[in-house]
Symmetry: C2
Subunit: 315 residues, 2 copies
């Protein structure tokens, strides 16, 4: 497969006038790239520029952006013009399958074949999106988290007709520009992060529907319970470290029976030896030989800092 | 009901030699209270003191503790001695129902009736725990999050025989000593925060069991996706703010249909008008009139700080 050299990417096209499209545009600008923005209609431009401005406030705190003028972004409602000189395309059009299918059929014809086209879709699969595209091998899902100019995660997965080289190219490109790419093994609805968040969200909706908790109580519980920890330890590592030197093995042996309890409406999988071993060895890979003491100490130091941030008054 | 004056609590008894019991003890010490610790066996003492020492490192960063010597903690394996002069009891014994039932039968006789007894249980109900207790009206669940010396949340709920005054006393006491108490409307398995976390955890286990993601990918997704946001905005407020001025109403109208999609193994409740209105008005209560702009700005400012903390190297 003949793809453009990753470090010769100079111009990026961001398609879509919503917060995701504008957020990506701001992020690319902050990486020193030229950005061409495609908006469906000129009336979106004012809001779009205002979203870039808002994102810039944060981006400036994380990067030295003195030499970059975000106003140099080129905004157009002409798709051909926008993609013509682009070395990379980030598509963040509305989440309507037929709309994306038509768009990719068109992009397939007008975007140079050595350019990778990534979709920000949060719920559709690339197999569906690329179905009417004449050059689907370079189309990839690259799903960010909101706000995309700040949160590092990009979930990456190809469709049935995607070439694995394009997936790798996307992975390397996002890493190169400072994101944290996560290449998924297969196309699953909701990808990884959204699935996890969605399970939590649906349990929250059930609780509100059953008068078990209010939205306010749910948020209070999250922000003061698992929240401050989740930025610095994922759920697997958190349970691993919470059990001391015994780690995940102790956690599963001790709390495994609780998986049968109605602690959520979601029935757990059977905790057989294969799953137990996968969790234990997975946690060992995450910790890479670091001992319990240092992991707990790092957790605590960082939680202290996050609690201080929570208490900061922002006007 | 005749309960001790909240601000005349001077001595607290922390029952249990594990990380929760020790974590509570350290927290109470840091609030200037005298602490009597009950351990099941003397061989637990060395580990216990070491856990207090570890907790103290963090507590010193959040409070001025120059005048407090954590070594003054009184450790004993004699339960009667420990509870004799205590003005408050925090019980963090192992999560075995029969063991807690026996313990509460005993505590019911030897703890002065004006003293509130709170259980750190994460999975049992107070209705079950208090069933053999002669004075159950002052027994309350007060479930912390690990590590209990740092995370502010305490989920509070009584059992069938608990007097609501004892629940309110506990709520006020935890708030008084700097925790964030959440009084639950009813006893539900897993309380609020653990239910939400458990839904996420079970979805994670399903994904590992089905080779859809590894523990490492799950943690990467959480830490770089929803994680940095969850410390500063619960899931309800996050979705409210993500949808701009339209807020939660826009979120539900736009993403409501996605509740039918297999984005998690958890089936969502029906999104009827009652649930929709409860979510929308709940978010309005959380935001208390603050506008979208300022909420998004606060989110971004704090995420920037949390991302900086994530990048800090801790040896």
């Amino acid at each position: 497969m003949n793809l453009i050299e990753m470090n010769s990417v100079k111009t990026v096209c961001s398609i879509g006038g919503g917060p995701i499209g504008a957020g990506w545009a701001a992020f690319f600008l902050a990486q020193g790239l030229s950005v061409k923005a495609y908006l469906h209609s000129e009336i979106e431009e004012e809001d779009y520029r205002s979203m870039i401005k808002t994102a810039w406030i944060s981006l400036e705190k994380l990067n030295d952006l003195d030499s970059i003028d975000p106003n140099l972004i080129q905004i157009s409602t002409n798709l051909e013009n926008c993609v013509k000189d682009a070395d990379f395309i980030q598509e963040s059009a509305p989440e309507i399958l037929s709309l994306k299918q038509d768009l990719y059929a068109r992009l397939g014809n007008i975007v140079s074949s050595e350019v990778v086209i990534c979709s920000s879709t949060s719920g559709l699969t690339m197999t569906d999106i690329q179905s009417h595209c004449g050059t689907p091998e370079r189309t990839v899902v690259a799903h960010p988290f909101n706000p995309p100019y700040l949160l590092p995660l990009v979930e990456i997965v190809g469709g049935k007709k995607t070439n694995s080289e394009a997936v790798m190219w996307a992975r390397n490109f996002y890493e190169y520009i400072g994101k944290v790419p996560l290449v998924m093994n297969k196309e699953i609805p909701g990808f990884v992060a959204t699935r996890l968040q969605e399970a939590l969200w649906r349990e929250a909706l059930h609780m509100v529907a059953n008068d078990e908790a209010t939205p306010e109580q749910i948020d209070k519980a999250l922000m003061n319970g698992p929240g401050p920890r989740m930025a610095i330890q994922g759920q697997c590592l958190a349970f691993h470290v919470a059990c001391g030197a015994g780690g995940m093995a102790t956690n599963l042996d001790q709390f495994g029976p609780a998986l049968k309890l109605p602690w959520t409406r979601l029935t757990a999988p059977e905790l057989n030896k294969k799953l137990r071993d996968a969790m234990v060895s997975g946690c060992e890979e995450i910790t890479a030989g670091r001992d319990f003491e240092s992991l707990a100490l790092e957790r605590d130091r960082k939680i202290v800092e996050i609690i201080k941030i929570q208490k900061t008054h922002v006007s």
